[in-house]
Amino acid sequence: MKPGNTCGIKEKGRFLKTMRSFSNGTVKVAFSLKGTYRRLNWLWFGALGGLVSWVFALSGKITLPWLRELLSAGFDTDVQISTALYDSIFLGAAMGFGITLALSIVEEMGQSRMFSFWRILLRCVIAIVLGMLIFFLQELLTAKVLPNNNYLGHLLGWTIFGTVIGLICTLLSTIELKSGLIGGLIAGIVAVHIYYPLVYSDILIRA
């Protein structure tokens, strides 16, 4: 561009300004707390929580030899399930943390009190512990009690997980206990029926 040509610079500036205002506006609207966008916020944040869980489940797996040995000694009898149990514990922790973190943030944003990180942290800690327990029991149930019925094991596990997340979301929040439990239960049942065919489509095809 020639040094004297300011027209191009002006146009570029105008274009950037338009783009910036458009992106700012779109982001503002997408994360608005008004009307339907408030509901969509929960969807975005839930999906974001799922993404965080996925990243943590992939990268946050810590090698704990003592836990592996403990699981192997306790559960590896005729079938070796300790590895699956070990993985499920980390999956539960990641799912509990990610989804509760995201839903707690959106809940705090939507209430009339001052935003509190402590309430979010408390819910996340509880969700990690309960998530580990639920996924461990689900894996154990699928392996020991329902070895030929993968679907039922997952249905139970993920439904209980959804209900527990709903319950955790009611802790120190504006959500009533009854609403949280019903919401979590329905959400858990519906979500597992969409999640399961996507993840375990090979099992369904074989069946």
């Binding site: 509901r39 944040f45 999906a47 995201a102 009190r113 919401g183 959400a187 979500a191 999640y195």
Partner: protein, 177 residues
Amino acid sequence: MIFYGGLLGGILHSVVAHLEDFEILYLSPAEFSGQRKPISKWLRSAAIESISIGSHPKCEIYVKWLDPVVKSKHAKLSFSKNTVFVEPDEGEVMVNGAIINSKTALRDKDKIQLGMNSISIMQLIAKEAGELTGTAQKNLAGRKNITIPATGRPGIMVNSGKPSIISKIKINPKKAK
């Protein structure tokens, strides 16, 4: 997991919002107008005697925006006999344009303004508006309805025909936006 999280969040909120009985809808200032804040849990909770409204960060209905008129514990909301009541605490409270001095029953869509010159206006949304008691009916009898013009800002016109003090203040529409 992303699908699961999104569905869980979306459905959970839909159910929770459907089961919510009482909400506070912010009408003014413009930046916050249209936001609904659930209050059913606090109203029904035995542990919380009343919901405080004010500029103190520990208030349940925390006035986050700058409003010099609003006191730290400006007003209180309480719930008994299936009716929501509002009561002034440290500040002046107007319900549907009329100043109240004591505990007053609220009905669905009643507007609460935190003082004559306050920009903080909110509305009670009661999905299951219960039968009001005799006292509540008496409190409601002398009320005047207010309308908020679509032009924005808290210009309040009392239905009696006389404009309130706020509506007399001339505001530059460009600045108000």
